[in-house]
């Protein structure tokens, strides 16, 4: 294999590496969907098939054929996807539905929210993969990169790709084009140092300009706390996604006050699809079942009036709302309310709810069989969920005969054996298994997520509900709810009964944490911590108003109320939940994505290492381009004159002199003797040095004095380098 061929192979290998990185960045996103809700084996099989088909087609099929093949693959994928959609969603298959879906995807709707996201990803993944592979085989790397980057751009728009993955994809594309360009111009692969410099530049720029989405993420050097984000933010955003992150903070600001006949959890909504590290609401927009209905088992009707004290994009209401008056609102498929705009202070609204009433007996007797679609939707777990979660749960619930018993056991178990803590490192891998086996503490999102995972592993339909804990009771019928009251809990489905709330989070420590946060905020004179129950306008007053309920009394109240069940669920099982009540702070919950505790000393993630290597490589390449290394080497070389034998010493001195002369004047011509050269460009000392050289080298004079003289001459001579 000659040098040129080796060059070509090296280039090709580098290009393939770049394309693989590019493709893997979007495939990872699609795989996430497949893992959560799909068939990974089918996915990998199709992707591999697409690669191979592309390789073969690239060799034999002209471009028009490839377009046709691409269309066929697309059509097959669409049929595959459509065939698996549950019939009740066929509504969304109308043209306008598709159009709406596409628009929604391109404007930030996560692909995880697609009804059958896994199958959708399986159907979509082979298309760009085939084309990338096809064009790569035809050595049209530009098209390959274009398609790969286009796909990455798509998942960037849907918001599913992490900054790290997106950056990796872009870097892969840049790398591919760079190496390809280098090869096309026939330059040596070593010239790719230019590409390396560009890659490093991309990294550094994106990492240092925070406007670039995800810019600060790739380096994994995020601060120990997210700047302003709080626990509440993730739970109460009107977003349809929720990620379980690391440490979180509590916001003591008052959000709203409630006048209600009874105490309740102020529920916002629920999540059905578990991604392993977070939650997603599926297909909220197309659910035909959005309507407010009362609980099947009946219950007691009561009303609440909610007065927002800050801008709210959600509509907290007691479970289960049956009517709302005030600002315009929609119902969601999770039995929640959603305001059409943002609620400002003063946009008070009144909700009529029916608190479901059901006895443990009723729940115990509930059938263990569920409607297919409900079961599919609410027992979904990512394929990558470790088996040990399931095994652990199985052992734990070995004696539980009914789903209700299982739920009780799990809830009690979590409450008793895990601690409540707001500062926890971000889970690496699955939330549930990390929490169950590697951690001793967490906050409400961890507890709730883990419980849902455990229930689902036993085929019991469950979902994650979010909202606010009842808050601080400031009057007979009045509660003040703060940001830190944001909370997450579990809803379990019982046939013929409906969704029943369980709260696996230990109440006491949560309340203590929240109390501490409020006290701290009061000490800091923070605004908005309190609201006088009689004067709602006082919210803006920066002075610490006398708190309606001193800490001590709240504690008492907590104790008093520990026996009372929170209004919503009247089952005895909710007893633990009742512990929450008083003041509750939001237990934190879903941490907002990038609050990471960062207290571990584990190795940084592979991407960080890769980015580090890229930046270091770019830096080295840059230094090399600037000649820093060769310069340093030269300097060491110039200053390092070791004596061995006269001939070698004098030759070494001459070589260095010639280097200096080359820098100062011109290189010596091949046929030019040293004598002629220094006569032309050298100084008198240089000529003397060459005379010594000739005396030693050609005349064989090995006297030490000559060598010493030469070395001394040169030692004075080399300082001209510095002056130069």
């Amino acid at each position: 294999m000659n040098d040129t061929t080796r060059q070509q192979w090296l280039c090709r290998a580098l290009v393939v590496t770049g394309l693989s990185i590019l493709a893997s960045s979007y495939l990872r996103v699609l795989y996430t969907a497949v893992d959560i809700d799909g068939d990974p084996r089918l996915f990998f099989g199709l992707v591999a098939g697409a690669v191979i088909a592309g390789l073969i087609a690239g060799r034999f099929v002209p471009i028009s054929g490839a377009i046709v093949s691409g269309a066929i693959i697309t059509a097959l994928g669409s049929m595959l996807y459509i065939s698996t959609i549950p019939p009740e969603y066929s509504l969304s298959l109308t043209i306008s539905g598709l159009w709406g879906d596409t628009t929604a995807l391109l404007t930030g709707m996560s692909i995880l929210r697609i009804i059958n996201a896994g199958m959708w990803a399986v159907a979509v993944a082979p298309i760009p993969t085939f084309l990338v592979s096809y064009f790569a085989t035809r050595r049209q790397f530009g098209y390959s990169t274009l398609i790969g980057c286009g796909t990455v751009a798509f998942v960037v728009l849907t918001g599913d790709i992490s900054g790290t993955d997106a950056l990796l994809g872009v870097l892969g594309g840049v790398f591919t084009l760079g190496v390809d360009g280098v090869e096309r111009r026939g330059a040596r692969v070593m010239k790719t140092d230019r590409v390396l410099v560009v890659l490093a530049l991309v990294l550094v720029v994106t990492a240092s300009i925070s406007i670039v989405p995800g810019g600060s993420a790739p380096l994994g050097a995020g601060g120990s706390t997210g700047s302003g984000e709080t626990v509440e933010a993730s739970l109460t955003r009107s977003d349809d996604e929720l990620s379980v992150g690391g440490s979180i903070k509590l916001s003591p600001d008052v959000r709203f006050t409630v006048e209600s006949d009874r105490e309740s959890y102020w529920r916002i909504g629920a999540y059905d699809r578990y991604t392993g590290d977070g939650w997603v609401r599926t297909a909220d927009t197309h659910d035909p079942n959005d309507e407010l209905t009362g609980p099947k088992s009946g219950g007691s009707k009561f009303t609440q009036t909610v007065s927002p004290r800050a801008t709210l994009s959600v509509m907290p209401a007691a479970w289960r709302p049956i009517s709302v008056s005030g600002p315009a609102a929609d119902a969601t498929s999770f039995g929640g309310l959603r305001p059409e705009g943002r609620l400002q202070p003063g946009d008070n609204y009144t909700v009529e709810s029916i608190a479901p009433r059901h006895s443990p007996r009723e729940l115990r007797n509930a059938s263990g069989s569920y409607p297919d679609d409900l079961r599919d939707r609410y027992t979904q777990l990512p394929d990558s969920t470790p088996d040990d979660v399931s095994q652990y749960t199985e052992q734990l619930t070995a004696n539980a005969e009914t789903p209700y018993d299982s739920a009780r056991v799990i809830s009690t178990h979590l409450k008793e054996h895990w601690n409540y803590s707001l500062s926890v490192p971000e889970p690496d891998g699955q939330v549930a298994s990390t929490f169950l086996f590697d951690r001793e503490a967490g906050y409400c999102t961890y507890f709730a997520t883990t419980m849902v995972t455990m229930l689902r592993s036993q085929e019991i339909p469950a979902r994650l509900a979010v909202g606010y804990a009842p808050g601080q009771r400031v009057g007979q019928n009045e509660w003040v709810v703060r940001g830190l009251d944001a909370h997450a809990w579990v809803e379990v489905y019982f046939q013929d009964v409906g969704w029943v709330r369980f709260d696996p989070t230990p109440a006491e420590p949560r309340q203590q944490a929240e109390q501490a946060a409020i006290a701290a905020a009061r000490e800091d004179d923070a605004a908005n911590v309190d609201v006088s129950s009689s004067d709602p306008n006082e919210t803006d007053t920066p002075t610490p108003t006398p708190t309606p309920e001193p800490t001590a009394s709240t504690a008492t109240e907590a104790a008093d109320q520990s026996t009372a069940t929170p209004g919503d669920e009247t089952t005895p099982e909710t007893g633990p939940a009742s512990a929450y009540r008083p003041e509750a702070f939001a237990n934190a919950s879903a941490a907002v994505s990038d609050d990471d505790g960062g207290s571990t000393v584990e190795l940084p993630p592979a991407s960080t290492i890769l980015f580090g290597i890229t930046i270091a490589g770019g830096l080295l390449a840059l230094l090399r381009r600037w000649g820093v290394f060769s310069g340093l080497r030269r300097l060491v070389w110039l200053w390092n004159l070791s004596r061995s034998d006269p001939k070698a010493d004098v030759a070494a001195v001459y070589d260095r002199l010639e280097y200096l002369l080359t820098r100062e004047h011109r290189p010596r011509e091949p046929g030019e003797t040293r004598r002629e050269y220094v006569r032309d460009v050298g100084t008198r000392e240089d000529r003397r040095l060459v005379a010594i050289y000739e005396q030693v080298i050609y005349a064989g004079d090995r006297s030490d004095s000559l060598v010493s003289e030469a070395i001394e001459l040169f030692k004075r001579r080399r300082w001209t380098l510095v002056r130069w």
């Binding site: 011509e669 046929g671 003797t673 004598r675 002629e676 000739e694 050609y698 005349a699």
Partner: protein
Amino acid sequence: MTDNVTAEPADGERAQAIAQRIVDNVETVIVGHSDTIEQIVTAVLAGGNVLLDDVPGVGKTMLARSLARSVAGSFRRVQFTPDLLPGDITGVNVFNQKTREFEFQSGPIFANVVLADEINRAPPKTQSALLEAMEEHQVTVDGETHPVPAPFTVIATQNSVAADQTYSLPVAEIDRFMKRLQLGYPGASEEAELLDRIVGGHPIESLSPVATVEEINAAQRVVSTVRVESSIREYVTAIAEYTREHARLGVSPRGSIALVRAAQARATLDGRSYVRPSDVQSEALVTLAHRIRPTAETDSQATVIKRALDSVQV
């Protein structure tokens, strides 16, 4: 002035003095061409033969004669003609009536300096009569070998015009000349001085020897001991290899040897006991060019050598 002028100089200095005397002596006759004079003197010191190749009338023969007269040795001149026979050069065995035996009648080649004038006018057979003498310093006639005197130098001249009446020298013969020298026309002022000198008697008539045969022999021994470092030898080899790669016929090893010898002689003339790269460079053209057959018609022999000197790293 003859020899032993200086008391006890080192061998090298004495050799340099001898060479310089000869050069100076010849320069009293030949106007200009000091380079060529030095070349021809160093060729003699290196024990080589010289081919003077130029148009008629530029002083080839005069140069050769001046050199011959500067040395106090025997000098013979052979005018080559188309009917010249080998025996006319080497000599023949003649039957002696008195002794009833064949006697060797030595030809003109038995001299310290042999001037082979217009060598290319004789047929190759006759030209070849010089081969053995030039290379091995001996002559074989009828199976008997006769050494030629030492020092021995053949100075041949040839006219490079009127090629139709001549036999070009065979490659083997050409290769045996250490150097080929070309005089070229004198400059305008030189020519004026030349005319000035011949007024009132040709200066060569008054030329007297400045070196004895022994002195030349001694100088030749000095030359052969001049130091040639390995880097110089490699340089010579590299030049030779370059010509082999860039010409139809490159320099033979004999050519490389000639170059080293010539460089040694040049160093001696310069008063040095070691060879420098510049010695090689100044001798390369004259010692190598005539041995080369360039690849392209447009290339001259000299161009190839100049290119070699320019591209081979010293």
